[in-house]
């Protein structure tokens, strides 16, 4: 019986003990710095069964366990623990029951103070006036934890650059971040930008830190980068520059562009209108060297006060010695001089003929500027002067007119030409194109002058010693007019003197081929006619004989001696649709005439060509038919 009673008591105690409800022991926060309180709590019900409770806290750094009594509120037992060590902690609650004196244990809760942790002195900046200038802010961050703090930085939204972009900070160390504005901010808007740092700080809501918060605008003055038309240009040309200015809340007063030129500083003033954004101007390159666009000064009114801001584009333009050149061509047998000018800018060309100064009409022909002047039939110099707008740079060439009296031989030094006895009627004006310098360098370029019919070509032999190079020059067929045998090769010597070479070019169609050393060469035409007594027509060719569709009809004459020719083209009504006379040479093909049939009717036509020893005598004629069927 006694044993039965004891059994019942034990059974009751067991039943009583199993009636206790023990909750989960929690620690909050689980990551904290030392000195920061940690709250540990557990619920135990019913409270009437609880005899005593203790928190057993194990400190891994000290390897000790301490007991703590709770603060009881109803069924909740709470411990506020402030760790004084950097350590990892484990906690467990020991419960003793009233009725049975039995001891129960809770679960184990852990927390740590061994963490990386950041501390940032954030910066908040307000920039009401937007400029081109880059703003910089320094922000200091410290690792106040006990482990290495890793980080990455970024801008939200973009517009700020942060340095460094990523890395780590050792415990107890600090790092200074540089925050710069890096975007283009147009005045007129308000920009809100944040420089942020993302870290491995495990504490709740501590993974991202604000380094800097920047608010910009809306007022301001922003200038675009300066555009330059060319960074390498020739003296005599203009270099254009342009830029844009965006502004808000200000009024522009004046804009000055400073150029450092080889001849000193040049300031270009730009005018502006209230709504103008685009600004452009130019600088004329007047001397070789470096032109530096050093600064642009903008003066403006803001909030009733005058302000000034300066930009430093520091753009350099290299001005090279100009490739501009001018050549004169004295037209045989006339009082005309052709001016051929190579220039990258539009020239103004004057002829200074004694006391007469006349501006010439200039036409652009491909890369050349050409003009013609009919000079006075008096002795003396004629200067052709080319000027360029906005520059003091000029080009000039002169030729001289001599009065040759008497039928005597005339010799111009330099080996250029020996004029035979009786070349000129007496008296006559002979024009001579001379380069500047002593009289010894007087060269004859008048009658028998160089009539340039091709471009100029310059080649350099890369071999040492220099070898002969084969030159190919395409010439103007209509200018040669069939006088292929009179095509000569000229070499540029002394800068502007064309020297006749003994080399004869090989001519095929409109291309002349010849061999020469390194140098600058061109093709010229000497169209002197030797008198003959009884010229004959060897052949007259019409190409094509029957023109079907579009095209031109060319008339080519071959004669046995140098002579004069007359050409007429008739339709079937005996109407003369073309008429030409000139000189034909003993050569394989004098291109007499090129007929453009666009303005005549389809049908049958006849060309009649006569030749003779003088312009007004005819010794032979031939006629040939041809057909136009467009």
């Amino acid at each position: 019986m006694k044993n039965f009673v004891i059994f019942l008591l034990i059974l009751c105690a067991a039943v009583s003990s199993f009636a206790i409800q023990i909750g989960t022991l929690t620690a909050s926060p689980t990551f904290a710095l030392k000195g920061e309180p940690i709250t540990l709590s557990i619920t135990i019900a019913p409270a009437t069964e609880v005899g005593s409770t203790f928190l057993m806290l194990y400190n891994s750094s000290t390897e000790s366990t301490e007991m703590y009594v709770p603060t009881i509120s109803g069924n909740t037992y709470t411990w506020i623990y402030t760790p004084q060590y950097v350590s990892n902690f484990r906690a467990q609650v020991k419960i003793t029951l009233k009725s049975t004196s039995a001891t129960l244990l809770s679960n184990v809760a852990t927390f740590t103070t061994d963490i990386p942790a950041a501390s940032v002195n954030s910066t908040i900046a307000y920039v009401p006036f937007i400029t081109n200038a880059t703003q910089t802010w320094n922000v200091k961050a410290t690792n106040i934890g006990s482990k290495s703090l890793t980080f990455t930085t970024f801008s939200s939204p973009s517009g700020l650059s942060i340095f460094p972009e990523n890395g780590s900070i050792q415990p107890g160390k600090s790092l200074e971040f540089k925050v710069n504005t890096s975007g283009v901010f147009f005045p007129g808007s308000i920009y809100r930008l944040n420089a942020l740092m993302k870290t491995n700080d495990p504490r709740e809501n501590h993974s991202q830190y604000l380094l800097a918060s920047v608010v910009m605008g809306p007022d301001g003055l922003l200038m675009s980068p300066v555009k330059i038309s060319s960074f390498h240009a020739f003296v005599g040309s203009d270099v254009n520059f342009s830029f844009s200015i965006w502004k808000y809340g200000i009024n522009l007063n004046s804009i000055y562009v400073f150029w450092n030129t080889p001849k000193g500083q040049k300031i270009v003033s730009l005018s502006s209108t209230p709504t103008q954004k685009q600004f452009s101007s130019f600088i004329s390159l007047t001397a070789p060297g470096t032109y530096t666009l050093s600064q642009i000064m903008v003066n403006y009114m803001y909030n009733g006060t005058s302000n000034s801001t300066t930009y430093y584009p520091n753009l350099k333009v290299k001005a090279m010695n100009s490739s501009n050149s001018m050549n004169l061509n004295l037209v045989n047998g006339s009082e005309k001089v052709g001016v051929c000018l190579k220039s990258s800018s539009t020239p103004t060309v004057y002829a200074i003929d004694g006391s007469l100064k006349k501006e010439l009409y200039v036409e652009k022909f491909k890369t050349m500027w050409v003009a013609t002047y009919t000079y006075l039939n008096v002795p003396g110099p004629v200067t052709i002067l080319a000027t360029f707008a906005g520059t003091s740079y000029t080009l000039s060439r002169s030729f001289k007119r001599y009065l040759v009296v008497g039928a005597h031989a005339v010799y111009f030094d330099g080996g250029w030409a020996f004029l035979k006895y009786g070349t000129f009627a007496s008296p006559t004006i002979v024009s001579v194109f001379s380069n500047s310098g002593p009289s010894k360098s007087l060269y004859y370029k008048g009658f028998l002058s160089l009539n340039q019919v091709s471009n100029v070509v310059s080649l350099t032999s890369e071999s040492s010693p220099s070898t002969t190079i084969t030159y190919h020059l395409i010439f103007n067929q209509s200018a040669v007019n069939g006088l292929y045998d009179n095509l000569k090769v000229y070499e540029l010597t002394g800068g502007d003197f064309w020297k006749l070479l003994s080399t004869s070019p090989e001519v095929v169609n409109d291309m002349a081929t010849f061999g020469a050393k390194t140098g600058t060469y061109t093709l010229g035409l000497a169209a002197n006619v030797n008198k003959s007594s009884n010229p004959k027509i060897v052949s007259l060719s019409i190409v094509p004989r029957k023109l079907i569709g579009c095209g031109e009809v060319k008339f080519v004459l071959v004669v046995n001696e140098d002579c004069y020719y007359k050409l007429s083209i008739y339709d079937m009504r005996d109407r003369m649709i073309a008429d030409q006379s000139g000189k034909a040479l003993k050569t394989l093909g004098n291109l007499l005439y090129v007929l453009n049939p666009a303005t005549i009717s389809n049908g049958l036509y006849v060309v009649v060509v006569s030749v003779g020893p003088s312009p007004n005598s005819i010794t032979e004629s031939v006629s040939k038919s041809f057909v136009i069927v467009r």
């Binding site: 008739y570 079937m572 109407r575 005549i600 009717s601 009649v608």
Partner: protein
Amino acid sequence: MKRIFVMIFMLLLSVAIFANVVDEINDPSAYSKAMAGAIYALYTGPQSIAYNPAGMANGKSSIFFSHIEHFLGVIRSEFLSGSFKFKNFYGGGAIQYTHPTDQFGYDQYKLTGSVAYKMGENAVGMSLNGWFGSDIKSGISMDFGSIIKYGKLNLAAVVKNAFASITWASSPSTTQTYTPELIVGGSYFGKKYTLNTYLNFTSGELGFGTEISVTSFLSLLGGYRMTFYKTLSKEVSVGMRMRYPSLNIVIAYVFENSLKFGDLLNPFYVSLTYNFSGGI
């Protein structure tokens, strides 16, 4: 006085249009060539088909042939025409063949059918022309003409190559249209001579010609012509007309731009006319 007025009028109109005209030998008659083309106001029978269809109304039925060698013989042209009289009506036709001789393949044919009606001393006429050849696919035009007698003066007005359109065998073929030619002519009849002129406003041709009767069967002809085209061209022409019963033979020789080429470029014309009904 009125004649002077007419001459002044013609001179005032001598500003030519120089438009695109048909490229053809439009002066195939030696008789005309010797008088610088100035036969537009004359009744010359079947050869008038090439000039003024009203000129067919000369009161006869005839056949006409002309051979032309031009430009140093490079161009040859044969012209054959005929006309017949039926009361006051005249009908006629012509074929003209033009070709170069200098080893070159080009042929041009022109076929013409004409009618004329005579009213007393005046007449009107019209022609229908067709072209074809080695480089011509087809072509067509019309001529209209009139001759009005006014005392000793004949006046002529002609529109040649009206509605002219020729399709050429180009690649691809092209059709070219031409400006109608407005021509006025005049002839004055003296006792033993005629003075003749014409002016083609469109092509810029102006000619003066005369015929002087030496005997009943021989006349001398002469003319001077200018063409005001892109380059002024001038020619002096002479000729001789021999008349046998029912047969006319005319030989013409032209000094074309003689100051320029001497006598090297002169065309030679010879024409034969046979009148079935006799007379000239």
